[in-house]
Each structure stands twice: as C-alpha cells, then as structure tokens.
Amino acid sequence: MSKLQLSVPQIKEIHILQRTKEKLLGHNFLLFVTIVLFIVMYLAGLIVYKDKNFDNLQVFLNLLISNSGLIITAVGMTLVLIIGGIDISVGSVVAATCMMLAAMMERGNIGALPAILIVLLFGTVFGAVQGWLIAYLKLQPFIVTLAGMFFARGLTAVISLEMITITNETFKNIAQYKIYLPFGGYLNRKGVMVYPYIYPTVILALIVLILAFILLKYTKFGRTIYAVGGNEQSAMLMGLNVKRTKFIVYIINGFLTTLGGIAFCLNTMGAFVELAKGFEMEAIAATVIGGTPLTGGVGNVFGTLFGVLIKATIETFVSFQGNLSSWWSKIIIAALLAFFIMLQSLLVMRKNKKSRAKGLYV
C-alpha cells in the first residue's frame, strides 16, 4: 500500500477542513473577523475599564439601548447593500422623522400613535420615491439618495429651525417603560437586588432583525434580493422581476429608516436641524463591518448587529475615557470603515485573480 491511500474518516476530515477553510476565507471571513474584533474589544474593555463596571450586564444592554435605532436602520441598509445599491439619506431621514414627530406632538396636538403612523407613512413614501427613481428611471442610487439626504435635511429645517423637546405623555411612557430581565441581577451599593433592564425599542430592534433574517433566508423574495444583487443581468434572464424587487427593497428600507428614526427619537426625546448628522455613515459602517460588501449579492443581518455592537463599544470606550472629544468615535469608525472596505476589495481582487487563473474572465 502506498502512503497516499487514506482511510474514509481521514478523507472526510480533510473534506471538512477544506470546506471550513473555504467558508472562512470567503465572505464569511469578514463576519468572522468582525465577531473576533468585537470579542477582543469587549475583553479589552473588561480589562481596561474594570473599575468602571464594564463587566456589568447593564453596560452591555446599554449598547443595545442607545443603538436600537441604528440597528433597525442598519437592517434596512443591509437589504439595500445586498441588492447592490446604497442609501446615504438615512441620517437626514432620521432627523426629519424626529422633527416631524416632535412638531406634530408638541405644536400640532396630534396624539403619539397617529403621529407615529403618519411618520411611518412618510418614510414609506419617501423610500418609494427613491426606489422608483432608482429602479424604474435607472438613476444612480448615490445621486438619488444624496438628493434625498439634502431634501430631508432641508425639510427638517423647514419644519422648525429651533430645537423642539417632546413632552407628550404617551410618548414619554413608551420611552421610559423599563422591561426587567429575570436574570443577571446584582446587589447595588445599598444592598438591594437590581435587575438589568431594556427599553421596548431594543425588543423592536431584535424583532426587526429576526424578521429580516427570515425574509432573507427563507422567503422567495429574500432569495430574489440576493440574486439581483449578485448579478442583475442573470437575475433578469432567470425571469426575476429586477425592477420590482429593487423598488420594494427601497420601500422596506424607507419604512425601516423611519422606524429606526422613531426608536432614535425615543432615546433623544427631541429634535433639531443638526440631529443624527453622520448617521448614514454609522449605518453603512455597521453593515460593511458586519460582512456585507458594497458590491452586493452577499451579506446577512446578524453581521450587521455585530457591526453596530462594535460601533457602540467604541463609543462607550470614548465616553469612559472622559477627556476625549466625541468626534474621536466618529473618526475611529470612519477609519474602521476604510479598513474593512479595503479588506473587502482585496478579497474581491483575490477572487477575481483566482477565477482568471482558472480561465474564467471577470
């Protein structure tokens, strides 16, 4: 017997190893890097900020609480990126959402629930207009959403140039309704058992996340999104309705952006013109860091959750440090985004090179 002959379990083992390697070096590689990065950052935080209660479960939950709006918005962004588009209007739309809510409740004497419904309708229509321009008129998503970004910011200023603080009772009650977790309690300084809590927005964000996951993974429409994002021409030749899919994705994105805006508003309880500046980059960064490349066709929403968590951890570090300007967190996130974009494009180039070596032209 020669040395080359292997037993069946050995072959199986090699096969599994190869597949794991392929999976890790493919697009899951990015997700893998993201999760490792988050764990490393969190562990570093545990060590560095031990005296500031970083190990408290509440600190982790605060990451979710203060970023529930971002999670919802970033889920919409994930869908848009998978289909090969982009939306840079989200920051302004969030600002417009908050301003509309505040103006309606404080100046228009409209109840909290009707106001929320009107705002959601506005977001859906806004998404539909952008989607129509992009899908049916075939305009570049960048230009359309850039115009959308300035439109929504201008709209915010048209509604009110001054800051409005929300004092509506119903809205306040929703914002401050604490949901205590049944576990993870600890004794505080007075010796009273305190349980960690979350706000309703966190649950909303998690529901959106799970629904989006199911939509992408187990529905026909979700698979169509991947197909269109992967290659529009092929998707069309397969008989998929490319235009309608794009249109619907932008509508969903508009809806989710305003939903995220409402969650954002529940955190800020007020609105002003410059609100949520740079939010679009945070959403794009969270999505891209979470392993959804800008080229479309690939991605998943749980990566996006980790992207948001990384961003939130950076912000917590900056605020724990105390003496640093809050601009630092923005700059660090921008640097991370740049790093991940480069990593992705290097991966794509490598893949193209490989296919070229195999004789496939890309």
Binding site: L133, L146, G154, L155, W327, K330, S345
Partner: protein, 351 residues
Amino acid sequence: MKSLISVIKRVTKYQLFLPVICLFLVLIINLIQTPSFFHITMKNGVFYGYIIDILNRSSGLIIMAIGMTLVVASSGGADISVGAVSALSGAVCVAALGTDEVYKMPYFASILLALAVGLLCGIFNGFLVSFMKVQPMVATLILFTAGRGIAQLVTGSFILYVKPKNFEYLGSFIPGVPIPTPCFIAAFLAFFTWLVLKKTALGMYIQSVGINLKASRLVGLNSRMIIFFTYVFCAFCAAGAGLISVSRTASIDANNVGLNTELDAILAVAIGGNSLAGGKFSLAGSIIGAITIQALTTTLYAMHVSADQLPLYKAIVVVIIVALQSPVIIKLFRSIKSRLFQGGLVKEAVK
C-alpha cells in the same frame, strides 16, 4: 419657417444651452425683484453691486466645480467630501497661523501646508477609488463625516479668529485692486485647467476613461492613474475654496465652512450640461452652473429662506435634472417625438 426650426434645433443641441438659459432665467427673476440688480458702484476704491457680490461669492464654488467636473467625468461618481476637505484645510491654515497679533508661521507656508493637507485627503480618496476600486461616493463618504471631525480636533471645537489684516486679502480685496481677489483665483484656475486639458491630451484621456474604463485600459491608458489624479486635483481645489472661505471671514468654524457645498458642486456640474454618469464634460458649463447656483442662492436669501432650508429646493432641482438625463426618460421623449413626427408625415401625405 423650416430654417428657424433648424436654427432652434442647432441652438438647443449646443451643450451650453441649458446652463446659459438657467443663468438667464435667474438673472431675469432677480432683475424683476430688484431693479438695481445690474448697478455697479465704486466705494472706497472697490466695486460694489449685486453682480460683483455674486461673482465674488461664487468663485469658491467655481473652484470646487472645476475639480468636481473632472471627478465626475473620469469616474462617473462624485466626491462628496469636498465640503469637509475645505473645512479641514481651512482649520489647518488658521491653526498654523495662530490667533495672535503676529503669525505663528509665515503666511505662505501655512497656505502651502493647508493645500498639502488637501492633497493628502485627495490621495486618500483617490487611492480608495482607483486602486481599491471602492465606489466613489462610499470612499468619499469616509472623509465626508470624518473630515469635519478632524477639523474640530484641529481647532479644539472653537471658532478661531485670525487677527492680522492681510489674512483677509485672499478672500476679499487686495488694497488698490477694485476687483475681489477670489475672482482672480477662480479665473486663473479655470484658465490654467482649460489650458492643460486642451493643450495636452489629458482632457481627452479623462473623457475616454469616463466613457469606457476597460477599453481605455486596453488602448494603453493608465486608467487608474488618471482617476487618481482627478480625485487629488478635486481635493486640491476644495482646499483652495476652503482657504478663500476662511479668509473671507478671517475665522474658522469647522462646523460651517463649506457646509452643503458638495451638493452645490454636484448641482453646478449637472446644470452645466455634464452627464453625472461620466464621460464628456464641459468646464465652461460647470462654471456657468456654479454662477447660476450662487445667483439662485442669493435670490433665495433675499426671499428670506434660511440657509438650512436651501438644500430642500436644491435637492429637488438635482433630482429633476438627473431624471431628465436618465436613459429611460430620453427614450420616452424620443418615442413621443417620433410619434408626433410620424403623425405629421401621415397628415401631409393625406393632403
């Protein structure tokens, strides 16, 4: 009659037709609102008047629009970091000069330093776009948000003032010269760029890369370097515009210098009759577009529209112009035109 139609057809086909008409419309509206619109008077040895003011204020935008035109032409995307880059270079310049009665650093050295910072930003953008093949808007989005952050760090989140008087020369008037300095700078840059693009093959290369990147590469052009160059040049222009804007008020407010100018610059390019999908471009169109937008902005200010509210109207204009350039709409127009034309022919045949 027929010759008139053909003349109209020829005129409307002319690339500068749209920008000139737009500018004309805005000027007419202004003239109706303020009859003294075209008056130019001499005060303290310098020219004063609406027209001079618009030309003066638009020169920063003209400079940015020149850079943006090349970026759009070569890559079919836009550089949305121009506003942030101008804020950053302005902040660096003021920080280098210091806020005392005398300069901390020589005047020209700090201006060169600020321009160098602009070049660095351009190199970053260009590297991402041309060598990393990232979509232009995402690549420039990074500096769009982080640039202002860095500018805030440079100024320590304060509004800094420069005291020596000669700092203002760049943004207002040099003593003894009746025309504002920014106009000279914009005119010089426009002429210089035009000369380089027309007298060397660079202009043609940029168009060729914008029309078909792969074909240009196969022909032997270094497509990447050309795109890289346009981004560096655009950021350089943005830095120059930032210096003018800082010098005009002799102060730096990192939050407000160059605010929303990225939209204005893209709008100027679009109104100038340039396709935002890349390819052929006209510098003159962009310059007229920039003046049009500044005139429009001044008009809207006169109508008591707040600076924060302006983007709303400008965004609508951008969408309309871009939608008119859309292949779908052009096709629709053509089919309507041909149907009308065919209808006419049939009628004539019946007669």
